[in-house]
């Protein structure tokens, strides 16, 4: 293990140079179409991320948490899911929500500040992004327990970061998952940083090794290798669906951008780290592989760029024209049953706002 908690045994199927390698346990065989699909999703997610970052700078979004550098971990793991599986993402999993079919503008709505949700969790089998660190890991376990009770053929996948592994909820989710043998996959993106705190502040051992103490397997995967991520996640989901219980996957990756657009990483980390990780870029390595194998050509890559331009236009226009919710929308859906107190407050807000209409100027 090197200083940064990486075990030499991290599963890899595609080297940073784009070379296909084999692994004794994990392998994946994908059609050319599927391989191009992985590339397309990663490239478009990166484009979405860049546009969102730009829109935040222009004051159109309140905040953005970039997933730059983590596209393989997110897109690869989400591609491993079946339609009946259910994802529990954090605020950074734009690649996951994208693959679950959430439209780009719905991903951005919460950051625009027009909603605290953005999409229908049931329609996409993807829960709303959770900001309170660690909470959703327990939700995934509960969902998975329900799958078992129903005798269904499905699994849940909980996403969280390296920082979250310190949180009580995440550790409790490990306990509950193993005690109930829940069909859940814990997918930890170790992007090396929790805001300004390096991974060593959260764990003294590589994160995937934690699982052993709770009684289930842990595996570390090269998080910038989309093929390895997909292979490992597929295996873990199959294991879960097969009644063999939880798996912890540590996707070893790097947060290439600031924590969020409010953060200034120059205060706590060295630019040289970025240089090292730039050479391990997840999209570039797949591109090299696809080109070298003749699976995709210039024409294909250009067409994805064009698609990215269209997506960027859609996002720029769509975000600016997102409907502003009316004031009374804040009273919607607080409860399902009627609530007289709230209805009174809603009415008072409507009356109050109406009092500003100048009767003379009509």
């Amino acid at each position: 293990m090197d200083e940064s908690g990486r075990n030499g045994s991290a599963v890899q199927l595609l080297t940073p140079e784009g070379e296909r390698v084999t692994h004794p346990t994990y392998d994946i065989s994908l059609t050319d179409h599927e391989l191009r699909g992985l590339y397309r999703d990663m490239a478009l997610v990166r484009r979405l991320d860049a546009e969102a970052t730009a829109l935040q700078r222009q004051g159109e979004l309140g905040l953005w948490a970039s997933c730059l550098g983590q596209e393989a971990a997110q897109v690869g793991s989400a591609h491993a899911m079946g339609t009946s599986d259910f994802a529990f993402p954090t605020y950074r999993e734009h690649g996951v929500t994208w693959v679950r079919g959430v439209p780009a503008l719905d991903i951005l709505a919460m950051l625009r500040g027009v909603t605290n949700g953005g999409w229908d969790p049931n329609a996409h089998r993807c829960s709303l992004s959770t900001i309170v660190i660690g909470n959703q890991a327990l939700h995934a376990v509960g969902y998975a327990m329900g799958i078992t009770f129903d005798g269904a053929d499905a699994a849940a996948i909980a996403y969280f970061g390296d920082g979250a592994t310190a949180q009580g909820d995440v550790n409790e989710s490990f306990v509950l998952a193993t005690v109930f043998n829940a069909p859940v996959v814990f997918f930890c993106q170790n992007n090396q940083w929790a805001i300004s705190q390096p991974r060593e502040r959260q764990s003294r051992i590589p994160i995937f090794e934690r699982a052993a103490g709770f009684g289930f397997p842990g595996v570390q995967v090269d998080g910038n290798d989309v093929l390895a991520v997909m292979a490992v996640t597929r295996a873990a989901l199959a294991r879960a669906r097969g009644g063999e219980g939880p798996t912890l996957i540590e996707a070893y990756t790097y947060r290439m951008a600031a924590h969020t657009t409010s953060d200034d990483p120059t205060r706590y980390r060295m630019a040289s780290e970025l240089e090292v990780w730039r050479l391990r870029d997840p999209i570039e390595r797949l591109k090299v592989f696809l080109a070298r194998q003749g699976i995709a050509d210039r024409h294909f890559f250009d067409s994805i760029d064009d698609e990215g331009d269209l997506l960027a236009d859609e996002i720029r226009v769509g975000v600016r024209s997102m409907p502003e919710p009316p004031a009374e929308a804040m009273f919607d859906n607080v409860y399902c049953e009627p609530h007289p107190l709230l209805e009174g407050q809603r009415a008072s807000v409507i009356d109050y706002l109406a009092s500003f209409v100048d009767p003379v100027g009509r």
């Binding site: 309140g62 919460m110 625009r112 500040g113 900001i131 660690g134 920082g163 979250a164 502040r201 607080v334």
Partner: protein
């Protein structure tokens, strides 16, 4: 032309930073403990430079575990330390709620006074900064409702500089709410005074009358103080007295009642939602104590009983100058 140099104008964030610095200098047992408070200096830079000057053992970057932070602060306190912990945002104190309510608040009582919990829990709170969910909440009532905890909230840089040191010096646990949208407001701060000498500074547990007036008393605290002072200035003929409650537990009813006996009208203003909030408590006690002096019912201007709304709606949720003056008009017209 010579002018006497006033005290320097600094932001509330800087005033808190100076106050924390003085607390660290004063007492070697005082520790700061929280997420990203060291090298980063906290997400609001309130602890900027303190780790560099006092070392990693006095200004400690914590793992991402709020229950862990407060729970271990309890052990440190039992060992004679005076921990000052930071919850990064209002919405992230809840994982620590159990440790605060079940343990911090009760240990002095359970130990029959043998064990003290001189813990300060700093929480940036409130909205108005266009933030995403969980970053704009006002959870002070939960803590004010809990016996065994004291709750303080400053409203300007001078008060912040003084009360943070008083909170840390208190042998009782103090939940210290910092109005985050006022972090960058400037005010002059006299740093020559000794905040622990009550001959030099006011008692932190007393409310402050910030502006005198004769028609209406406005009781407010934290981020709403500036709003209410602005409302008082804009109120035309109506003469408004503005009281900064500052201590939310204990509440200083004497100061409020004294004012209401003169003005006959009370409006309580806070960002937090209404039901079972601080305003309800103030209204109940003042109605009891000042029943015969009141010319109008005690009125509240507060956030609504909804989850803090997405940022595009927050201006409708937050009490502002117009809503405060609207209530002032109503109590005047009653």
């Amino acid at each position: 032309m010579e002018r006497t140099p006033a005290h320097p104008e600094v932001t509330m964030a800087k005033a808190l930073n100076d106050g924390l610095r003085r607390a660290l200098e004063r007492d070697a047992k005082t520790l700061l403990f929280g997420q990203d408070i060291g090298r980063l200096g906290g997400v609001f830079r309130v602890t900027d430079g303190l780790q560099k000057d006092f070392g990693e053992h006095r200004v400690i970057d914590a793992p991402l575990a709020e229950s862990g932070i407060v729970g271990t602060a309890i052990g440190l306190a039992m060992r004679g330390y005076r921990p000052v912990v930071e919850m990064q945002f209002d919405g992230f104190v809840y994982p620590a709620f159990d440790q605060i309510v079940s343990q911090v608040a009760k240990i002095h009582r359970r130990s029959e006074g043998r064990v003290i919990m001189p813990i300060t829990i700093r929480i940036p709170y409130g909205g108005g900064i266009g933030a995403v969910e969980h970053h704009s909440e006002s959870p002070e009532a939960y803590f004010a409702h809990t016996a065994g905890l004291r709750v303080l909230t400053p409203s300007d840089p001078q008060a912040a500089y003084v009360t943070i040191q008083q909170a840390i010096a208190s042998n009782d646990p103090v939940v210290y709410f910092e109005p985050k949208r006022r972090y960058w407001d400037k005010g002059s701060v006299d740093r020559t005074i000794d905040p622990l000498d009550l001959r030099e500074v006011a008692d932190p547990w007393r409310a402050r009358i910030l502006r005198t007036g004769s028609d209406v008393t406005i009781a407010c605290y934290g981020p709403m103080v500036r709003t209410c002072l602005e409302a008082a200035t804009a109120s035309g003929d109506v003469s408004i007295e503005v009281i900064d409650l500052q201590s939310l537990s204990p509440l200083d009813f004497d100061t409020i009642a004294g004012s209401v006996e003169r003005t006959g009208r009370l409006v309580v203003v806070h960002e937090a939602s209404r039901t079972a909030g601080i305003g309800a408590e103030v209204a109940a006690v003042i109605s009891e104590r000042c029943f015969l002096s009141l010319e109008a019912p005690v009125t509240r201007v507060t956030g609504y009983d909804v989850p803090y709304p997405p940022s595009r709606l927050e201006d409708h949720y937050l009490p502002d100058l117009d809503r405060v003056l609207d209530s002032v008009d109503k109590v005047m017209a009653y």
